[in-house]
Structure formats: structure tokens, C-alpha cells
């Protein structure tokens, strides 16, 4: 295939990918968008196979590799529970990172096949691009593995910090940049491998100090990295499809990180530098631990309250995902609707462990997406609502974010649950939320605490609604 034709077809791939993302602007067009994406990918694979010199033995191995990967990917895609999406996406990011590293190493050892010059005499521009690609790829790889382990519970979700951490990171960062610079003068194998090892190490170091509830930012950030890594390799291989895709994915991840940070009213740097709730903020809350009266109730009370309400807003959070309570919740809502109660769902941008996590879980439980609202669209409705049913959320409802400038979550946009006539708050215990801040909502007169597992409590309420 001529180079011009293949370039044009790679450009087509890029366009199809843009259309794939464009489709996601509404659920109706999204499935079509995904088909565009698949078409683009098939096109890219066919064009690249037609552009290389095929020899038979390698073709066999290639087909085997493709089938093994395809079968594994297919099985994962059908078996994975929706509650595990965050760790799945983190795991997938690590694969993109590792693939980028492998491609770059391969290009380093046989640059002639990639059209980059001879071994250790690679064109200057290409070696810089290759260095950047391999470095970002390696960071994505180890960073995503750590994120995966934290989300999967293979590793504690609490931040791991040690003295001098930021200096070590800064030092490694400088080392990586200097090594990429040094590759221009000296393309020796040692330098190349030290660059890879240093990048692997910094990827690990960047993610360990970040805690569980900051995971939405981390996943989005790694999403962005995997894009930049692909773009770096795209420049090395002079491939338009990779460059376009890398730019799309990179900016997509960056935007999601921004939205997540804004949802927590924290700067990106603040999240990266790690350790929410681990610093001095906890000393403040300790003095207030004297027992304040809390009204607690049972499933019967909750069922009674909701049955007699005319409107209910459900506020789901990560606890709902942990308890797998989405199906029980939907059952409860169906019963309420039969009693002519108006029900809607309110979703905070950072609810759950990844952007849009709650929406997917509710969609899985067959909740129609037009009953699910984002923070800005529903926040004014709380004042006219009878009951708020908070299931597995905590910090995102804490009024302290609006009233106490000293609180670590001050300024974070919250769902105005407290404006409802009554609030039902399902929680396993009185322990504070992730931010380590006591939620003053618990002590309000109009709050009824339901101490139980989210799923069990919801199921009990369903029984009492009959």
C-alpha cells in the first residue's frame, strides 16, 4: 500500500475516533459512536498489516497474539461486574502504558523497520519523541497498577507518605528530563533502560500517596497520560492515527481530571501532592467528639416516611457500590412510584470512584437516565422535596462545606440535602467520611439515621412498603 494512501486511511481512523467521542454527547447517539470507534480500529489494523512486509511465520504468531488478547479482553468485558469498572479501567490503562513501552523498546532495537535510521543512530527528533513516549508509557503502567491495586483492595486505600517524598519525586523528574536530553548525544542502551526504570519508579511514587476518594482524579489523570504516551509513540512512528488519538485521549483525561478537582474544590496539584485528611485537619475535629444526640430509626420508620411523601430524592454514593445496593434501590423506587411518589436521583460529580460511576450503576439497575440528575440541575429542588434518601454518600452532603472556612472540605460544592423536609441517612456507623470531617447533618432534627448495610436496609424498606 502506498504511503500516501495509508496516511489518508490513518487520518480516516482519526476522524472515526472523533465521531466516536462525539456520539457520547447523548445516550441515543452513543451506541452509534461506539460503532464508529470499532470501525476506526479495524481500519487502522488492516491498513498497518497491509503496509508492512508480511512473512508467514510472524503472521502466525501475530494472529495467535491477537486471538489470545481478543479472547481475554472479551471474557473480561462480559464477566466484569459494573461495580468493578474503576479498577477495570485502571487495569486497561496499565496495558496501554506497557504496550507503549514495548513498542518504543522494539523501535529502539530495530529502528530501520520503523524508518527511524540505524541502531543507536536514530534521528534526533525521533529519539526525543521515543524517550517521551517510553517515559510517559512507563509512568502510566506502574501508576495504573497501583491505582488498580488500591481500587481492587489488594492494597490499602489510605495514602502512603514518607519524609522527603516530594524531593525524591522532583529529583526523579529532573533525572528523567536530563536522560531524555542526554539520549540526543548518546543513544546507549544503558541510558535508555535507566530512563525506563526511573519512569517506572516515579509512576509508582506518584500514585501511592493518593487516597481512595481521590481516585476519580487519579483515574482521569492516568487516562490522560495513556493518551500522551500514545501521542509520543505516534510522533516517533510518524503515524497520524496515533497522534490524533493520543491528543483526543490526552485532552479527554485532562478535562475529566479538571471536572473531578472542581467537584472537590481542590487544585490538581493539591490532589497529586497527596494525603487528604492525613494532615493537621483531623486534630480540629477531635475536640468536638462529645456525644451529640442523634435520631436513629429503622426500616419501618423510613418506609412510612417515604410512602407518605410526595417527592423523594435519592443521593447515591460509593457506599451503594460497595454494598451492591443499586438493584434493591430500584425495587424500592418502583414501589414508591406505585404509591404516586415522585422520585429522582441526584448525583454529585465525585460520587463513587470514577467519573460517572453512579450513573453506570443506576443504568445497570434499569433506572431510566432521564430520572438521574447532575448537581447543578437538581440542587434547587431539595428545598421543595419531602425526603432525601442518602445511600452511601457522606462528604458530598456535608453543610460544613458552606459554613466553616476552617474545614478541609470548605468550598466544595455539595448537594443541599439539608433543605429537604426530612433526610434519611443510611450509614453503617457514625464514623466520619473519607475527609475525616464530622457531618453535622447527622445531628439535625430532620435527619433520621438508619444504621445498617445499604443493601440490607433498602431491602427491609421494600418489605415494609407493601
Amino acid at each position: 500500500m502506498s504511503a500516501n494512501l495509508s496516511s489518508l486511511l490513518f487520518l480516516t481512523t482519526g476522524v472515526l475516533f472523533i465521531l466516536a467521542l462525539r456520539g457520547l454527547s447523548s445516550p441515543e447517539t452513543s451506541r452509534m459512536g461506539n460503532l464508529f470507534g470499532i470501525t476506526g480500529m479495524i481500519l487502522a489494523i488492516i491498513v498497518s498489516i497491509l503496509s508492512v512486509d508480511i512473512f508467514f511465520s510472524n503472521l502466525i504468531y501475530f494472529m495467535i497474539a491477537l486471538s489470545i488478547g481478543g479472547v481475554i479482553g472479551g471474557i473480561i468485558a462480559f464477566k466484569i461486574p459494573m461495580t468493578a469498572m474503576p479498577q477495570l479501567v485502571a487495569g486497561f490503562h496499565s496495558l496501554v502504558g506497557l504496550a507503549a513501552v514495548l513498542v518504543a523498546v522494539s523501535a529502539y532495537y530495530s529502528p530501520d523497520s520503523f524508518g527511524l535510521g540505524a541502531f543507536q543512530k536514530i534521528k534526533t527528533a525521533s529519539i526525543i519523541e521515543m524517550g517521551l513516549g517510553v517515559s510517559i508509557g512507563a509512568i502510566t503502567f506502574t501508576g495504573s497498577i497501583i491505582a488498580f491495586m488500591k481500587l481492587q483492595g489488594l492494597m490499602s486505600g489510605s495514602p502512603i507518605t514518607f519524609p522527603g517524598q516530594h524531593y525524591l519525586n522532583a529529583l526523579l523528574g529532573i533525572l528523567i528530563i536530563s536522560l531524555i536530553g542526554y539520549l540526543i548525544i548518546n543513544q546507549s542502551q544503558q541510558i535508555f533502560w535507566i530512563l525506563i526504570v526511573a519512569s517506572l519508579f516515579i509512576g509508582f511514587l506518584i500514585i501511592i500517596p493518593i487516597g481512595g476518594a481521590d481516585m476519580p482524579v487519579v483515574i482521569s489523570m492516568l487516562n490522560s497520560y495513556s493518551g500522551w504516551a500514545a501521542a509520543g509513540i505516534g510522533f516517533t512512528l510518524e503515524n497520524t492515527a496515533l497522534i490524533i488519538t493520543g491528543a483526543l485521549v490526552g485532552s479527554s483525561g485532562a478535562i475529566l481530571s479538571y471536572i473531578m478537582c472542581k467537584g472537590m474544590n481542590r487544585s490538581f496539584l493539591n490532589v497529586i501532592l497527596g494525603g487528604f485528611g492525613t494532615d493537621n485537619s483531623s486534630s480540629d475535629t477531635k475536640e468536638k467528639t462529645e456525644q451529640k444526640p442523634v435520631k436513629s430509626g429503622n426500616a419501618e420508620d423510613a418506609a412510612f416516611l417515604m410512602k407518605n411523601a410526595s417527592s423523594v430524592i435519592i443521593v447515591p454514593g460509593y457506599g451503594m457500590a460497595v454494598a451492591q445496593a443499586q438493584h434493591a434501590l430500584r425495587e424500592m423506587v418502583d414501589k414508591l412510584k406505585k404509591n404516586d411518589v415522585k422520585v429522582s436521583y441526584a448525583i454529585h460529580p465525585v460520587a463513587g470512584r470514577m467519573p460517572g460511576h453512579m450513573n453506570v450503576l443506576l443504568a445497570e439497575a434499569n433506572v431510566p437516565y432521564d430520572e438521574v440528575f447532575e448537581l447543578d440541575d437538581i440542587n434547587n429542588d431539595f428545598a421543595n422535596t419531602d425526603v432525601a434518601y442518602v445511600i452511601g454518600a457522606n462528604d458530598v452532603t456535608n453543610p460544613v462545606a458552606k459554613t466553616d472556612p476552617k474545614s478541609p472540605i470548605f468550598g466544595m460544592p455539595i448537594l443541599d440535602v439539608e433543605k429537604c423536609k426530612s433526610v434519611l441517612f443510611i450509614k453503617r456507623s457514625m464514623s466520619p467520611g473519607y475527609a475525616g470531617v464530622d457531618n453535622e447533618l447527622f445531628y439535625r432534627d430532620n435527619t433520621l439515621m438508619l444504621f445498617a448495610d445499604a443493601k440490607k436496609m433498602t431491602e427491609d424498606i421494600v418489605k415494609h412498603l407493601d
Binding site: P27, F55, I68, L98, S106, Y109, S226, I244, G356, Y369
Partner: protein, 104 residues
């Protein structure tokens, strides 16, 4: 003076970032999880590099180090391609509108 082809690629790159910026802002927040899984799937287009690596040849006809790296990279990218697109499809199938009230 002739323009370095690098500049063309850089132009494509910069403009694509802007396209990405505008397209992603128009994605509805309820689809942010599918957005992440589909961007993950399309970033596996890195398989084009893995294919070049798989068929790169040294003088001898035997399988080289680069080929092996290529095969591994193809496997990883394939997991991502199939896994990413299929799981996205599975998620998107679940986003349904409110059913028309038939039993009324």
C-alpha cells in the same frame, strides 16, 4: 525553504487537542464512565506500532527480540481493544429512556 514534516504532525497534534477539548466538553456527565472506557479502547490504536514491531526484520529470518516485544504488545493492545469496546457497548446498552407507560 521546505517545511519539516514534523511541523505538519505537530499541527495535527495541536488541532486534535482542540477538537478533543470541545468534543469532550459536550459529552454528557452521565456518560463519563463510558467515555473513559472508549478513550481507553481507542488509545489501543498503539497496536499499529505493535504490528510494525511484530513484522520488523533483521537480516536473518528467525524471530528477533523486537518481534517478541511486538507480539506481547499486540496481545496487550488486543485485550484493550476487545475489552474496551465490548465493555463500552455493554454499558451503553443499559442506558435506556423511561419506558412508555403501557400498563395504564
Amino acid at each position: 525553504m521546505e517545511i519539516d514534516p514534523f511541523i505538519f504532525r505537530l499541527s495535527i497534534f495541536i488541532l486534535s487537542i482542540f477538537i478533543g477539548y470541545f468534543v469532550v466538553w459536550s459529552v454528557t456527565p452521565s456518560l463519563h464512565t463510558p467515555l473513559m472506557s472508549v478513550t481507553n479502547a481507542i488509545s489501543s490504536v498503539i497496536i499499529v506500532g505493535a504490528i510494525i514491531a511484530s513484522f520488523s526484520s533483521l537480516e536473518g529470518s528467525s524471530i528477533s527480540f523486537s518481534n517478541i516485544l511486538g507480539f506481547v504488545a499486540v496481545t496487550l493492545a488486543a485485550i484493550n481493544i476487545f475489552g474496551g469496546f465490548l465493555v463500552t457497548q455493554r454499558m451503553l446498552q443499559m442506558y435506556k429512556k423511561k419506558e412508555k407507560k403501557k400498563n395504564k
